[in-house]
Symmetry: D3
């Protein structure tokens, strides 16, 4: 099985880190193909960056299908471009945000989300509301740690994330969804420290993609995600 993991921003180091997390979670026999657009924002911080990453993301999905991908993962916690991607792809598409919420709700009666930027929290809240997880999610916290600082051991990222997790548990959360692909490396340690399940969206999305492929399920083409009539516009926009 071949799964395309697409980082919708143009920062190659991020793409590499995402690919590592994806490969660790994949079953034997699953190939992870990592991809990123050639143009577009270097990071996705809010709806403007999100919207501008979509044309590049869609082109990567088209290319990945041509290369034989059996499923696609959009590796941005905002699930940027998910509807458009489902329309262009013939194979299933999963966002790492939704994957986190699905996985968290299978192991935690209620959960909290810890993300990076304040300005992304409302995007995530809108998605949670739309997907139906509002009663399961106690709060979306923003640490306001810049994404690139996550790897810096001096940034105190682990402790900052931990302090929000403690707040979430005090509100009744029984699990955590890490709201940024760059936090994946902390998941296991946080899980050990806090004694509750801590979900990394990339890993969860790999499992969900494998599940859909093995079940022979793909995106419905009967409604909102029907194949678009104007593929040519995608070429013109490059």
């Amino acid at each position: 099985m071949r799964i395309a993991v697409i980082n919708p921003n143009t920062t190659a180091s991020m793409t590499q880190r995402i690919a590592v997390a994806a490969r660790l979670a994949a079953a034997a026999g699953t190939d992870i193909i990592d991809r990123q657009p050639t143009v577009g924002p270097e990071a996705i911080e809010g709806p403007f960056d999100g919207a501008l990453s979509v044309p590049g993301l869609l082109r990567e999905i088209v290319a990945a299908e041509r290369d034989g991908a059996d499923a696609h993962i959009i590796a941005c916690f905002d699930d940027t471009g998910l509807d458009a991607a489902r329309a262009v792809a013939s194979k299933p598409v999963i966002g790492i945000g939704e994957a986190s919420f699905h996985a968290a709700s299978l192991v935690a009666h209620s959960f909290c989300v810890v993300t990076t930027l304040s300005r992304s929290a409302p995007v995530i809240e809108d998605n949670i509301h739309r997907y139906g997880f509002s009663t399961r999610c106690r709060r979306v916290f923003a640490t306001d740690i810049p994404v690139l600082e996550l790897e810096n051991p001096e940034s105190g990222a682990f402790e900052k994330i931990s302090s929000f997790i403690r707040q979430g548990l005090a509100l009744g959360a029984e699990g955590v969804a890490l709201g940024c692909a760059g936090m994946a490396a902390f998941a296991q340690d946080l899980q050990r420290t806090h004694g509750v399940p801590v979900v990394d969206g990339v890993s969860a999305a790999v499992g969900l993609a494998e599940t859909l492929v093995r079940c022979g399920l793909s995106t419905s083409k009967s409604g909102v995600w029907a194949t678009p009539a104007r593929f040519h516009v995608l070429e013109k926009l490059s």
Copy 2:
């Protein structure tokens, strides 16, 4: 006051029709500036077209602000790109879909929506859910009349729309939102025929835009719609 009405697709005849409706609804002293992108889909039928229209739409908003617009209207019933547009603009932005729901809920205890394409209905339903109008909207109906056929007197468009309105009223709707800018010309006749308020989104959006400007209200920049840091990406994508 100067209001930019932006048709996010590239069909000039549609832009003209929208501008006519907008000018009819504007107060004395309001200038309506119509705009459309130079590249992008010719019509917005589903989330793929929607996503691909956004870069062009955002450039028109930037240009309209440079030309002194006091407010912006996105003239697509799907409210395509609304969040990204609010982030790039310093002046208020209104989608004609949301404008219709706001106006309809001020004159009808509950309403129905009559739109063109089946594949757009779920996009509209998602917006209604997200904005909070789910308890006010009885049903979103799709007539499956092609947009360009709306003007053809032989298409039977008026009678088709009427038959869905009758279904909506039987479900308890007390008003109607016309779910396509191209239906504006029918609004008054439908209102007379069915004896209930029939809302055209372009007209409603003009009034709401004037309201915000006169009240000195503009998009909050404190959260999800903060000014983006990567304006340069918009240039590169053209």
Copy 3:
């Protein structure tokens, strides 16, 4: 265009202040006619006062229509008597509470309300729930400043309101609706101080009323707001 702004309580100084705010927000060519009942409560503090103000309010609406009003505004943040008023009027009716929520949700992803009395907060929360704005409103705060103290510079009203706004912003609100017609004078200063949109309901209602009139939209008479059969009862109750 002639808009009747009806203060449902019997305090003339309040009526005058409301009229000032309405005239400031009105478009050129809009006449604001202020009215107030001759009997009824001097202030509307909770559901008892609200209920007892309705007969007087309805008589003012009937009189305003006779005088040629094109639309009516109920200038109480509780939207007292809104359904009954829509039934008696042939022209559109807007409450300043609902007007605030509509306007706030066009410029703020989520907002908070700052009102005067604790006992009115549940009335406002019920309205927000009923209109569909529950997911948009983070919290309704009561300052417990008596309405008449709002004008007293020694009351510290501005700073009290400000401290609740700060709490609301900490909860993620990106805008504010001022929950009392008497707070209108603070709106601009609060907006400047906190850097987020601050909505005054009277101004917003004027714009919405103008919008409906220009769009040729009026209250649906096909359902709950149908013209009542027992107008005579209104006469007897005076």
Copy 4:
């Protein structure tokens, strides 16, 4: 125990019928005191009649308390004036609409409502939404039988109500709330015919009132239903 059952309209025959139903349901030792206002609408058909009945209703509540009532029932399915009544009364107040929904949800996983007038259905739907019974109620049906026709054996009322009950059961309802005090006489026969619980609101309200009195529970005065400061207005309005 003394329970005041207040018919908020001025039709004495209706008051008598309501009193009969209340006495049948009362426990041994419960006195039912029936009351009706001296002025106000003869029937409550929509929000205008509802609003105009409230001053008279409130005066009856004040009088009933003076006469030693331990609890009050508002015998209109729209729960007209319930909030204002709770504010003026020191003893508990129950509406027959809410009583029906509470009772129905204890014996039916989901239920439907069969009421008289189309124009009242949205009032009932709003109440159901506000009280929290939206997921329990499948549909509110209006028979459009005039209230006074309910007693006329030639009106076919029983069969008309039955046909809506059958529709409700087909939608999954497992019980019925009769949405008009005038339908009480049919309750037992309808229950036998359809084999599902059929709730009469007056009877249910009597039981709930007795329950609150025996439990020593009365309306909270700490918030929205606090005792009003302007009782004098009630006198002036008569």
Copy 5:
């Protein structure tokens, strides 16, 4: 009238305390029959205990019906086994959790719940969500006082419960539901101390059971609570 009050756990002292509360609330002429299973958990702390108490509970319900019970009360705040009990019983069944929520919402615009164990709070929250009381309940608090400590005057239980009530009132609650049958003895004192209605579920359930019996209402057998086909399994499991 004969009402079976069934304590689903096997602790006899608890059964006695519950019976005392039930008898105090019952109308003249109501016999309270207390029952408890012979096997099963001694206390119900979370879903495992809840599930294991159900077979014993169901046998008590079958026995109570044989002994002529007119209604059944499940005296566990989690409403353990309520659906299964409604299926086996031909007479109405009420849980003390749901009874509390119904009663509280008749006397308080919004309420809070104060229960014993943290691990039970999510069970209660799920029930509140399912029954439709989510908008009425501000928060479910867990005191983490062990049930048996409630009677120990040195446990400080009264003050602990009081401190959570104060928190609830600060959040806008206007009433309290005591989330454990063992707290019934505190209800009156707490009501006096805090000046808001404090609901004991056992008393409320007795009144609701009497109400249903007097109204001639019993559980619908047309749907989910239809009489089961496999009564024999209940015998085998003992």
Copy 6:
């Protein structure tokens, strides 16, 4: 990896069919261990059967953990005993009902459920509401085909299920969840016939279980699903 698939009823032929479906969906290297209780109902038709199957189900889970299971699947579409099972297990537990809803919502904007018995539909609707999928699920249909008839080629099961799917698609559903483990054999043919994704819960649950195990995620023990203190009761009940 070892996954225990537990049929909570005592019909061995059903257990075998479920095991076949599970093995077809499992990844290479996943062992499927099928189990069923020794006592309890032969089929789960409504909440009584559901409740009585739980003690046996829990014993199978305890035994499966002793045998080294890495995850557990409850193979009943009602998700019978899911909370209690999560409490006793140290490894993750998934119900096939919830698995279906999660999978369906990843490939269909909205879906319908086609189950066997009318009396089970409300159980499924309650679960959908509780999990948060209410806005995603258009309708739960009951075919009223007895479970054992599903395999009988003369029963017309395929055509009956198909006719409900057509109704669901007409309501806007874009996918289907088959609401009974016994329908798994039809999934592929139904998918081909109707051109939309058709989800079998057993297959979906296997994928989700593998996902959780590979991600190192297990049930939170910090709250409602904490390990019970009274394991001994389970022994006594056998």
